[in-house]
């Protein structure tokens, strides 16, 4: 109840004309950087950071976090329309979002994504409001062994849901692990797998890999199959946006489950990417319409988007209360906090209640502002689909090339991206699944680090993964997800359609 009073006080700070104006400006800038692959919220934030130094800390953080919300929403646009995920957490959105857009339902796909994203974010904010102090405590329980268990859980909930040949899945997954290992190794400080290319010491950036695998690869498949012959008509139709949003509660159970997964992965340090993959994987397993997944099924958009945003939002809490930046954007914001003379950490809540609760209140408002603005832009983005393929294709190449370059100002990345494009084409053509490859690139090295840190701490004993109730539960859940479905399938129980209870 005390939190509630503080929140009301926060609203009284956040609701003012200049603050709302800052939110609108921030969100619009965020959408812009989010839509452009290669640019992201960190670019927007570091651009505006210098001009915020003269502001009140509350106003400044409202502006900066609005960029964050805008970019989170904007990131889904290219995933859905062009199969180019701008950030790791929107990869899972492409699985059903892109097929749906291709089949002429771009407006519906975008609106579904934004609607469920907003729902996820709201659940995340409510959670922060009610359980702030408790959540901060939970995050502290996570040592390397628990980290590893969370990543293991994310892998096992996702692996084996596709219908690809098992050996191709294995090759795809392990190649992903190897790519994640390229560069400087955290635990030993050694340089690994650079293949004689000195610059690879920085590792292979995820965005470079997915833009090639998904964006370019898909383009090559599309031109070969003459997909562009099938003209996609999408009228500018705000009514469709409205109908889609109103229809969202039909997926109530998926929304709730995905939000729960997202919050859990956001508080525990699994992060938005692991959350979105896990949520998609689980949705595909238990859904009555699981056979339709991958062909443009709305539930396949709802599940990852809700979880992504729930995780992204609840991950801001550890940043404030513990000083761990969950993302590059959070890191830049933290740098800003320090320049304003605020130190993130447990004391922030008691010392700067105006600031903290003003920020939390602005999360509610910022998200509402963001979803309204982004929904208004849906028909405009959807109209991009009407451009003829011969214009879109070179534009996509340019966007990918510029995006790959600007990730770390490196020409090598552009060349790598083109290589990944060819690989993506071959893999797609021959039924190698891309999702395990991507998941392994994103969290493979983190999982390996966590495993080896655990081994250091236990001096080589695997017992550390059963050392306490938390880690044992996580590991057991991981094994269960890995082993139970094939067993059930074996004895035929799984065949029966499962009711979404």
């Amino acid at each position: 109840m005390q939190n509630f009073d503080l929140l009301m006080h926060g609203f009284s700070i956040a609701i003012s004309v200049p603050h709302i104006a800052l939110m609108i400006g921030g969100v619009l800038l965020g959408i812009l950087v989010g839509v452009l692959p290669g640019l992201g919220a960190p670019n927007g934030v570091s651009l505006l950071l210098p001009i915020t130094f003269g502001m009140q800390p509350v106003s400044a953080i409202i502006l900066l976090s609005s960029i964050y919300w805008g970019a989170l929403f904007g990131g889904s646009v290219t995933s859905i329309l062009f199969n180019i995920p701008g950030e790791p957490s929107s990869v899972a959105t492409t699985f059903d979002g892109y097929p749906m857009a291709r089949s002429g339902r771009a407006t519906q796909a975008l609106a579904t994504a934004f609607g469920s994203a907003a729902f996820g974010a709201m659940v995340g904010v409510v959670l922060i409001t009610c359980l702030a102090s408790w959540i901060a405590g939970v995050a502290l329980e996570f040592g390397p062994a628990e980290y590893f268990a969370v990543y293991f859980l994310a892998f096992s909930s996702f692996i084996g849901v596709g219908g690809s040949p098992p050996m191709k899945t294995v090759v795809s997954l392990t190649i992903g692990f190897a790519i994640a290992a390229i560069g400087m190794d955290t635990v030993s400080g050694q340089v690994r797998l650079t293949m004689g290319i000195d610059e690879l010491v920085k590792g292979v950036n995820f965005v470079v890999a997915v833009m090639g695998l998904f964006g370019i690869g898909e383009l090559l498949i599309a031109v070969e199959e003459e997909m562009h012959a099938r003209a996609v008509s999408s009228r500018i139709d705000w009514g469709e946006v409205f109908r889609t949003i109103v229809g969202l509660p039909r997926h109530g159970w998926v929304l709730l489950r995905s939000a729960a997964i997202g919050c859990w992965m956001g508080i525990t340090p699994g992060g938005p990417t692991a959350a979105s993959f896990m949520s998609y994987g689980i949705a595909k397993r238990v859904s009555r319409r699981r056979d339709k997944f991958g062909t443009g099924e709305p539930e396949g958009i709802v599940a990852p988007e809700t979880a992504d945003h729930a995780a992204g939002t609840s991950a801001l809490l550890p940043m404030l209360s513990l000083g761990i930046p969950g993302s590059a954007t959070a890191a830049v914001m933290m740098g800003g906090l320090m320049i304003w003379g605020l130190n993130p950490g447990p004391a922030l809540f008691t010392e700067q209640p105006d600031f903290v609760w003003g920020l939390i209140a602005s999360m509610y408002l910022g998200n509402i502002v963001a979803v309204i603005l982004v929904l208004l832009t849906v028909p405009i983005f959807a109209a991009l689909m009407r451009l003829p393929f011969f214009i879109i294709a070179p534009l996509i190449f340019i966007v990918c090339v510029v995006g790959a370059y600007s990730v770390s100002n490196s020409y090598l990345d552009v060349v790598l991206m083109m290589g990944f494009g060819v690989l993506g084409y071959l893999f797609k053509k021959l039924d190698y699944p891309l999702a395990p490859l991507v998941l392994a690139i994103v969290i493979g090295d983190k999982a390996e680090d966590a495993f080896r840190q655990s081994m250091l701490m236990s001096q080589g004993s695997l017992g550390i993964f059963f050392g306490n109730a938390l880690v044992t539960t996580l590991v057991a859940m991981g094994f269960a997800l890995l082993v139970v479905p094939p067993l059930l399938r074996l004895i035929g129980v799984w065949r029966r359609p499962v009711r979404p209870a």
Partner: protein, 155 residues
């Protein structure tokens, strides 16, 4: 033009070669357990083994599966017509810089390949190049490559 057998073999060869490269490289890092815990070459070595084994399996399985054509000559020509200009585009970036090359690439594909009117294709090319400059260089201070041409102009 290309049978499934050929494509499967090509892909398995690529993945297999990557696997062998991983194996060789990971030997440099040490495998097994040392005083500093699990050595850094251990996981790459294991993934390398799995990739090589999996590639061999996929090669054999792909070879046994029918000879049906999965990419016809027409399809292949279309794909090359899209990809080849893009490769040239990327190759020219170090020389001419991102802005000029992007414009030329658009101009070439729109005008020469798809027969858009000269005026419109020039317009699109210029708008995109200038737009890139405004968004990246001017407002976000992300410098895209200017190439040797840029270096020469900035002398």
């Amino acid at each position: 033009m290309f049978s499934r057998r050929a494509l499967e073999a090509l892909t398995a060869a690529i993945t297999g070669a990557f696997g062998i490269a991983i194996l060789v490289q990971s030997l440099d890092n040490g495998i097994g357990w040392s005083s500093a815990g699990v050595e850094s070459g251990t996981f790459p070595f294991m993934t390398g083994l799995i990739v090589v084994a999996g590639s061999l399996y996929n090669l054999a399985r792909g070879w046994l599966r029918g000879r049906e054509i999965v990419v016809t000559a027409v399809e292949f020509r279309r794909t090359v017509a899209l990809f080849l200009p893009a490769v040239v585009y990327v190759a020219l970036i170090p020389l001419l810089g991102m802005y000029v090359t992007s414009g030329l690439y658009l101009l070439a594909t729109l005008r020469l390949q798809n027969g858009m009117s000269l005026l419109r294709s020039v317009l699109v090319a210029v708008v995109v190049s200038v737009g890139l400059y405004l968004v990246f260089e001017w407002s976000f201070q992300v410098a895209l490559p200017h190439g040797l041409l840029g270096a020469w102009l900035e002398r």
